[in-house]
Amino acid sequence: MTMASIRKLEWKVGGQQGEGIDSTGEIMTKTLFRYGYYVTTYKQFMSRIKGGHTNYKLRATQEPTRHAGDDVDILIALDEETLTVNRSELVPGAIVIMEGKDVNITHVEDYILATFPLKAIATALGNPLAKNMVALGMTGALISLPVEEFYTFIEEQFAKKGKAVIDSNKAAVDKGYALVQEHLKDRVKTLEAVPRNPDRLYISGNEATAFGSFMAGCRFLSAYPITPASEIMEWMSAHLPAVGGTIMQVEDEIAGITFAIGASFAGARAMTSTSGPGLSLKTEAFGLAALSETPIVIVDSQRAGPSTGLPTKHEQSDLYHMLFGTHGEIPRIVLYPSSIEDAFYVAAEAFNLAEMYQCPVFVALDLALSMNRTTTPRIDATRVAINRGKIVTPEEAEKYGEFIFKRYRFTEDGISPRALPGNPYGVHTTSSNEHGEDGYITEDPEIRTKIMQKRLGKIKSARLSRPYYVVDGDAPVVLVGVGSVRGVIEEVKARLAEEGIHVGGLFIQQLHPLPVEEIQSYVTGKTVITVENNYYGQLLNWLKMHFPIHASSHSITQYDGNPFKIGRVYHEVKELLEHVRRTQKTHA
């Protein structure tokens, strides 16, 4: 019998929270990442510490992807609920390894259900905690992965815990391999070996955002813990002190943004990170940053709202809030990286834009983008250079010869030179009240009008170096998405292309100011299909405010707390295309 060779693996482990599902998934994923595969992941979890179903999905492929996939080839079910919840994802011929009383291999419908007393087996080996390692060993055996791949990882992972722990974990993995040989030999396949490539990273959107911010010179982050944004604060907490900065976990979300505004006023590159509920609380301070023209970067890792909503679930429903939130009218820049790779660069550039345009800059993420790790290329250090904007030195400030430095000086581009505290020639007052050039409060209608025009007009030219990505932009139908949805659209587009159907793909990374001139040829008069995780079709409506798009335009929406499945979007796009075709025929 020849072993079937496979080119990809979709694998899932599930059980109760607190059973080590996350770390089991991480070990499997990182092992295949190092084996040379591209990996994408998705973690599903609940808003509680222990108990409740949780799972970790891995998709390992030979080509890069940005979606964790719809299917499951191998499911590790540490309880029966895992099978019930994830049954619909099993492909024909899938193997389910489930915790059970006895060893029992049965065919159920079109999959194999293999129960093993995993906990008892691990206990017999002297380490009940290693039951997940037995399951990992079984996975390795089922795809003919050399067992040494796990050993390396185990040695690294448990280095601090000593030889006994390392040995017991290795033994558990070995046992998994042996069990497959004994009971599931005829199900063994071979995951093709691919060249290892050390020039890749395995990183999450939150990590990439923090890393990018750090490299851009962000030295102060103040925030309040909130899912799914906390990892940004945690990463920065570990790294900032070494470069003379710090994070501050402050008393509330309002302090999160206002501490950062204070630090920025004093001259540091500063940020706050949060999710929807926190963004709501910070909203008044958007205006403070905007009116005082103080740079600030606000990361919103979106989750399902409103109110507490589904606090551990995915959504893209804060677009309106970032685009319109706060009273009055303010200059703002709203960015949304369309991949984990881009999160690094977008975050880094956000600090440049904030200082160059002296206004709040939002970096939108979503839970799928934030919390899941994937393979990305290594960082291109040349893509972003630090630009601190118009900060005047004492020598420059002295030339103005002003007792009160005109912080809000009228200039051609609407951006005024900024003197930082400590500069002997730049003393001035900054105010959240309307003010004149000197920063002093005024209610003069003429000055008000002029300074509003300066402030709101200054951001027009603000551009991210890659404000959007477009593929096949000349197609009459274009799929548009932001953030993690890019992954779905790319796969749907590829599937359609295989059938000879060509649609465009547009992934917008700068939502405000929208690069209208640059993207108009891709959307004006076209059938625009946005794919977005919200109810209202916020992205489509935002585009409608800027472009005369075709009446057949539509948004495919989903707001159940989960990211899109590729298959679902594929079918809906096909139906829409069919509908458009029929309508056009009728008109013709």
């Binding site: 890749r200 990273l201 395995y202 990590e207 750090f214 490299m215 851009a216 010179g217 030295r219 102060f220 103040s222 790294h239 002190p241 470069v243 003379g244 900065g245 710090t246 402050v250 008393e251 309002i254 302090a255 206002t258 501490f259 950062a260 505004i261 204070g262 630090a263 006023f265 004093a266 001259g267 540091a268 590159r269 500063a270 301070a285 205006g287 403070l288 005082s292 880094a348 960082i379 250090a381 250079a385 630090i386 630009n387 601190r388 004492p394 009160i404 930082l420 505290p421 400590g422 002997p424 730049g426 003393v427 001035h428 007052t429 900054t430 105010s431 959240s432 009240n433 920063g439 409060i441």
Partner: protein, 287 residues
């Protein structure tokens, strides 16, 4: 950068023209603050003054320093953030009792226990003045205003005891009618390493007809020496219904930033390429 500077004078601190009512207690607070800075030889460019919203918060416009007139109740978080970024600056936070003990009360408690080195001046007139005379968190019981027509049924917030109970390292109270003493207290507060609170009775001559200059002259008891313990300070406050002036309590303790022990370099980020060697080093975490 080293710049030769003359000794600061009161003239250096002159900011925008005030819009306070004639006789307002805040004039004295401003005079007290400016005199304290001059006495300490501190220049305007070495000071950040962060204020909230209200009549008193306009002090950041009227006193020439690096001023930041923020939003209601948020002077303290903005001020603390500024100090974190620029520890070499003297940071003054200022505002009224509504700003600090009402809408900003949450920040106040945490600023106290955090003990970042800054001075917080609360200009306490026990009324909302800028919104034209509503009851404040410091208004007395049964105080009558447009929003408490039958008298205030809440009791005034005892901000000083809150501060003392939560580990404040410098707690003082002053009075606009005694500028000399007030200025000395502000001087001490600025010199104190850590969070220093100076609550200043600063009468609103337009809207508060109860807590007037005469009221304080009649009621205030002067404390000449700080009390030995927090408990004692709280007891004395209770004994005199809060009507004391002077330095109530002081304690030397490492401030927040000193405890962190970081070599502060937040403001040093320069234009230019990102540090590639650092990128390569950090990438190892993700491989």
């Amino acid at each position: 950068m080293s710049v030769e500077l003359k000794k600061p004078t009161l003239k250096d601190f002159k900011g925008d023209t005030s819009t306070w009512c004639p006789g307002c207690g805040h004039f004295s607070v401003m005079a007290g603050l400016q005199r304290a800075l001059v006495n300490l030889g501190i220049h305007p460019h070495e000071v950040i003054t962060v204020t909230g919203i209200g009549c008193s918060s306009k002090i950041s416009e009227y006193t020439r320093t690096y001023g930041f007139h923020t939003i209601h109740g948020r002077a303290l978080p903005v001020a603390q953030g500024a100090k974190m970024a620029a520890p070499e600056m003297h940071v003054i936070a200022a505002g009224g009792d509504g700003d600090g003990y009402g809408i900003g009360a949450g920040h106040f408690v945490h600023a106290v226990r955090r003990n970042i080195d800054l001075t917080y001046l609360v200009m306490d007139n026990s009324i909302y003045g800028l919104t034209k005379g509503q009851t404040s968190p410091r208004s007395q019981h049964d105080f009558v205003s447009k929003t408490t027509l039958k008298g205030n049924k809440e009791y005034p917030l005892d901000a000083l005891s809150i501060a003392l109970a939560n580990g404040a390292t410098f707690v003082a109270q002053a009075f606009s009618g005694d500028v000399k003493r007030m200025s000395e207290l502000i001087e001490k507060a600025i010199q104190h390493k850590g969070f220093s609170l100076v609550n200043i009775f600063s009468p609103c001559v337009t809207y508060n007809k109860v807590n007037t200059y005469d009221y304080y002259r009649d009621h205030l008891v002067t404390i000449d020496e700080p009390l030995p313990t927090r408990e004692e300070a709280i007891r004395v406050l209770k004994e005199h219904d809060g009507n004391v002036q002077g330095l109530l309590f002081v304690e030397e303790r490492d401030d927040f930033q000193k405890q962190l022990g970081i070599d502060w370099k937040m403001r040093d980020v320069q234009n230019g390429p990102m540090d590639e060697a650092m990128i390569r080093a950090l990438e190892k975490e993700f491989m």
